[in-house]
Amino acid sequence: MRESIIMKIHYGTALGAVALVAVHILMRMSQKFSDSLQYQNVIANYHFLPYALMLEVLLILLSVHGFNGLRVILLELKQGSTYEKMINYGSLAAMAILIAYGSRTILMAGMGVS
């Protein structure tokens, strides 16, 4: 993939994440902060499908943006074709693993499995 496409994704995910994190924080402010962290309230968030979907999207945006950012930093630290391949595939794998693990949490909480 061309670097410009990757960077467009990088900037896009940053903008998307900022918007969704803002929604996420505003939702916390709809009640007292300590109440928003009560077990029942947290579980209720996952049972509310639109909010659970938003969390899933937020997870994807942050994983893609974060691991691509890390990839960029690591590419600037050291060079070499084997190292760069390792970093590129490693960050893709890390993104996939984090998204899979986070999605599992969202799904399990949404379905009431603890």
């Binding site: 061309r2 670097e3 410009s4 960077m7 467009k8 960029v72 590419l75 600037e76 630290l77 060079q79 760069e84």
Partner: protein, 257 residues
């Protein structure tokens, strides 16, 4: 008849004009990596006038104290880009920096950062020149204005304005030396190469935009610039590579056509 009164020089300026030249300490970084010699400073006391440049001070050392000091220079008028070095910690052209401007009695000269050192103040420009060549620094198009049936390619002053400042680059390497990305990413094209890519992309006679954009759109290309802006700050010719990089990014992001 108008009478022009010549102002009397003050006591201070009298001393400057008629008095003995000041003496400064010139510290020159000496190293020879090919022989495993680590960098160490040699110090020399140099008489300077208010117009003495750093290059002249170095040449004074070569003439009077130590002829083995390695320094690259040529035109002595900021046109050739040969005498780039770190002067009191900042990348600058030695021929274009007056000692009186530095406001210091101790002047330290070191080889530029981000370049392999050949010896003392002379650095290897191989990577800079190769990156410059990679940018295809010439007008690319099928037809030519030199064939008999062709005409001169017309440009308006506005067309010229788009790239003119970037064509002033003298390849002195100061921008690459000041670039923080170049310090860690040895494969980075660098501000010099990227600014030259923009110079030709912005030229309306050129048809090689897509070719050049492909070259700079690399994992060690245009996206690795953090817009620190130090490249533009140190350029002795007033070129703004940081701006060129941002404008070039505009083409890749689709903001510019």
């Amino acid at each position: 008849m108008a009478v022009v009164a010549v102002p009397k020089p003050s006591e201070e300026s009298k001393t400057k004009i008629t008095g003995q030249p000041n003496t400064i300490t010139l510290r020159i970084s000496r190293s020879n990596p090919s022989e495993g010699q680590e960098a160490a400073f040699s110090e020399f006391q140099i008489p300077v006038q208010k117009w003495t440049t750093v290059l002249e001070a170095i040449l004074y050392v070569k003439q009077n104290f130590d002829h083995s000091v390695a320094v690259r220079y040529s035109c002595r008028q900021a046109s050739c880009g040969s005498c780039g070095m770190k002067i009191n910690g900042k990348p600058a052209l030695a021929c274009y920096t007056k000692i009186s401007e530095l406001n210091s009695n101790v002047v330290t000269v070191e080889p530029m950062n981000n370049f392999p050192i050949i010896r003392d103040l002379a650095v290897d420009f191989k990577q800079l020149i190769s990156n410059h060549k990679k940018m295809k620094p010439f007008i690319i198009r099928e037809d030519s204005e030199v064939t008999p049936e062709s005409k001169e390619f017309i440009q308006t002053p506005q067309d010229l304005e788009k790239y003119l400042q970037f064509s002033y680059c003298i390849k002195c390497g100061l921008c690459n030396s000041a670039c923080p990305t170049m310090a860690t990413d040895t494969s980075f094209i660098g501000p010099q190469g990227l600014a030259q890519a923009y110079r030709y992309v912005a030229d309306n006679r050129d048809k090689g935009k897509d070719e050049r954009l492909k070259i700079v759109d690399d994992s060690h290309g245009i996206w690795r610039c953090h817009f620190a802006g130090s490249c533009s700050q140190v350029c002795p010719k007033g070129v703004d590579p940081a701006m060129a990089i941002q404008l070039l990014r505009g083409y890749l992001l689709g903001f510019r056509k």
